[in-house]
Structures are given as C-alpha cells and as structure tokens.
Amino acid sequence: MTASDGRLVGDLARAIDESDFAWSLVLVGEDQRDKLAALTSDLLNKPSTSGDGKQITSGYAYWGIGPTIAWAHACADPFYLVMKQSLDSFTRRWGRVRGRVGEGFHHVSFGVGTGHKDRLVLEHLLERNPGLLYVPVDMSSEMLRLGTQEATHRVGLRGHRVVPVQLDFSIPDNLAELRELIHRLVGDEPVLYSLLGNTLANFDQDDELLANLTALARPQDLFLLEVATTEAVNDDLAQDAVEEYARSRAYREFVTSALLHNTDLTINVDAVQFRGAVEGDRALKVKVVYQNQTGGDIMMMLPDRNRVPFPDRDTIRLYLTRKYARKALDGIVREAGMRKVTGTHSDFGVPRSSQGFGMDLLLLAPGEPVPAPRADDDVADVIWGN
C-alpha cells in the first residue's frame, strides 16, 4: 500500500467518524446473483407434504428489507416467547459469564440479529479495549444495517472500527476467507466470536456449522454460543415447542415474508404449519412449513421469472429451529472441538412456557476436547432424578 493509499483509508475513516450522516462501511463477500440463484434452486425442489422438498434455507429468511422489518416486528411481539425471553434474560446471563472474558478482545458476531445483545457485549469489551474492532457477519445487508446501528448506538465505538461483512457463513469456503480477513485486521490480538439468539438451531447441519465456526478460533480466542434448551426430549414437549412458536402472528408474518418477497404467492398466514419432532436424544426440532391448502395446483413465479407448479398439499419449508437437550450440550461442544470455559442457564419463568424450556449461554475456548462426562458429573440427576 502506498502512502497515498494509506491517506485515502485515513480520510475515509475520518469522513465516517466526523459525519453526522449514518454511513456504514460494509464489506460484501459474495456475489448476490449467486445467492438469488441458490434461493431459486431451493424453491424448485420436488413436491413434498412433509416440508422436505422446497425450502428457504437459513439466511434467506432474513434476506431483503421486507423480511428484515418483519423480523424486527416479530422480535417486539410479546407472544414470540423464545425471542422475548432470550432478549430479557440476556443481560443477566451475559453478566454471569463476561467475567471470564479477559482484556484486549475484538468482537466478531455471526448473525447480528436486533443488535441488542451485541451492544451489551461491546460495552463490556470496549471498557477493556478502546481500540476494539467490531465485525458483524450476516448474509443480509439489511439485517447488518439494522443490527449494527442498534449494537453501536451510544457505546462510544467509532464508526470506522465497525466493519460489517455481508457473507453466508454457512459455506466453509467463505469462512476460510473470513478467517484470513479477521487475522489480517486484528493480528495476534484475541477475538470473541459469538453466535447468539439460537441461530445455530436454524441450520440443517448445525453440528457441522458449529465445528466450522469454532475452527476460526485460535488458542487466544473465545466463542460465545447461545442456544434454546429443554430439560427433556419427548413428543409432548415437541408439541409444546410447536405451540410456543405458533401463538405469535408476528412470527408467522416473519417466516412468510421471504416467500412474499421472492415469489408471487398470495400468502395466507393460516397456511403456515408448525411440525414438531424429536431429533434423537439431542434436540426438539420444529419445522415451519407453508402448505398449499387451496385444494388445487398453483403456479408460482420465482425470482428468475420462471413459473413453476406448487401442487395441492405441497409444502415449502420456511424455517427450522430446535431446542437442544441440556444433557446433549456438552457432547455438541465436544464434537466441535471446544471446551466449556463457563456457562449459564435461564428458565422461561412464565406460565405460557413448558417447564424446562430456557436459554443457555456458553463461553467456549478452543483446545483439547472436553473429556466425556464422568459418572459423578450427573450426580445432581442421580440424587434428584427419581
């Protein structure tokens, strides 16, 4: 880089910091045409009544300004219990684990969400590292804009220290590039990576995603993971999990918003179905599907202007989420090659929620996988189990 290039970067940083206009400097990591082609391809899958054919994969559910606004509305809906409880209890849970995060950390946040949680994290990290670099990563530039504004509001972080990255972080090649970028930006200084708001649960191959994300962490780095949890795993609780999501109309509008903005379907939110299942002994799984209940075949226009059939009873999977069994968390962390530094749990203390549902916040560090639990690790369960 020449001296004039350096001056240009410096001038750009000053222009962002000194302007009253809300500039944001976004690094776009992917060709958005490829993303549109992938979304179109996913909507061309074979018919299925079980939600295993056509689908809108995680990331696309938030892609575009319409879904972003619908997401923000859903987060403000008191009937969307998971999000409300997650936001309400995060301050307390973060307060319990933040003492284990040392000084000098930068912050890389995967899936920035509403930005409320990142703001709390940034406030803490900034006190210990005024030169902090904040790198929110999301597939949706609109989500990045929304979340980053909230995350940096009044925390005293200068604009040029915020580097939003538009990138689909479920693709391993993208993560390899991101790793290079982060290491160039921070050098050997430690980074706190975070994946909050039960985002992990939205991916089909969630274990693989977690392993890929945690592989970014070097020995000096930490990883903050937040997941929705359940004390037990059975069909009744899967049904309870379904009801927890199904009662929010704003949530239904959010999950259908990607369909509304990428197809010409006339959306009927009553055609949104929630299907719960038990995923082995590790999680309760909830699939949110949109089913053609008109009694006849429909022609649906895709983003590439192609018209494809959407047969009667066919489904489009709109969203996937899980509640992880608390007992399975150690195994999930271990398989990702991480060890738990500390963790905290918060129950959903409201009558509308099933007993045993809650959120867990785990602070992880790379290193030797945690050994399999000894028999006496479950001593609390042995004593009070039955």
Partner: protein
C-alpha cells in the same frame, strides 16, 4: 399375663355379681325387690362404663393425632412453597429447610390410629414418612456436594435437577397433596 388375670378376675366378679343380683331380684318377695334392682343396674352401669370410657379415650387420642398431623403437613406445605424451594429462587449455595415428620412418627408408634378403620391412612403416612426421610437425606447430600465444590455451576446443576419436571421432588409434592386430601385439608390449587 398379670394383665389378663386381672381383667378376667374383674369381669368374672362383675359377671357373677350381676348373675347373683338378677337371681336375688327374681327370688325376692315383690315388696323387697327395690334393693336387688338398684344393685343390678349399678353393676350394669359399671360394666358398660368401662367400655364407654375406653372408646371415648381412643377417639380423643385419634383426634389429637390427626390434628397434629394436619398441622405438620401444613408446616411442610409452607416449607415446600417457600422461597428456598422456589424455581425462581437464587441458584447459589444455600442450606435448605428440612421437612418434619414427628407427628406422623408419634401417631404411628402410639397406636392412636386404628389398624382396621385407618388402614389406608396408615399406609399413606408410612409412604410420606419414607419420602420425608429421603428428601432430608438428599438435601444433606446436595448441600455437602455444593459447598465442597469450587464450581458455582454445581449449585446450578442441583437447582435444575431439584426442579425438574417428573423428578423426585415433584413426586414428594404430589404425595403431600394426596396426604392433605386424605386428611380432609384443602389442597393447593
């Protein structure tokens, strides 16, 4: 043996006296029958009085035992519904209050309850007594393990296990509901 002999002697004497009194009444001339009649009725009142007093004493003893058990159950209810055993209570280290069972022990050992009439209640109280002993023992183990562990997470693990749906503690609450219902006390909604 001595008790049986005294009982036999007492009731034998009363029976003979009663028979003699009735005979005396029959053989007496009509004008002299007041005295054997009074004598016979006095003996009859003595015999029935013994049984009546025994029945009343047993009934009073049973009522006192049931009343004490009710108070004890209400006290245990307050303990279980209290802050220490609330799911929203602090998850840190703590010493838990214990459940009490002295009234139940006393009732079972004193024979205040009738093995025939109160068979179901006696069975329920035996189960409750076993549950209380088990709770208190498990609380001791919990406190020992939590206080001797350097990790605060341990206390959280025990808190979670204690309040687990379908766990042991929920079973104890259900048993208390059943016991209070059997004693005719109002059960929590």
């Amino acid at each position: 043996m001595t008790r049986i002999a005294i009982t036999a002697l007492t009731f034998g004497a009363l029976a003979v006296a009663m028979a003699l009194g009735v005979t005396w009444f029959v053989v007496s001339p009509p004008g002299d029958r007041w005295e054997p009649a009074v004598n016979s009725f006095a003996l009859l009142a003595g015999i029935t009085g013994i049984f009546a007093e025994r029945w009343a004493a047993q009934r009073e003893q049973r009522n006192q035992a049931i009343g004490s058990i009710r108070l004890e159950m209400a006290r245990n209810r307050e303990t279980l519904d209290g802050e220490a055993f609330s799911a929203s209570a602090s998850r840190g280290r703590r010493v838990y209050p214990r459940l009490v069972q002295s009234a139940v022990d006393s009732a079972l050992s004193s024979g205040a309850l009738s093995p025939h009439r109160d068979a179901d209640l006696i069975d329920l109280l035996h189960r409750w007594r076993t549950a209380v002993a088990s709770v208190n023992r498990r609380l001791e183990l919990t406190e020992m393990l939590v206080f001797t562990s350097a990790s605060e997470e341990k206390a959280e693990q025990f808190h979670t296990a204690l309040h687990r749906a379908n766990g042991f503690f929920q079973g104890v609450r259900a048993l208390l509901d059943e016991a209070q219902a059997a004693l005719g006390d109002p059960v929590r909604p």
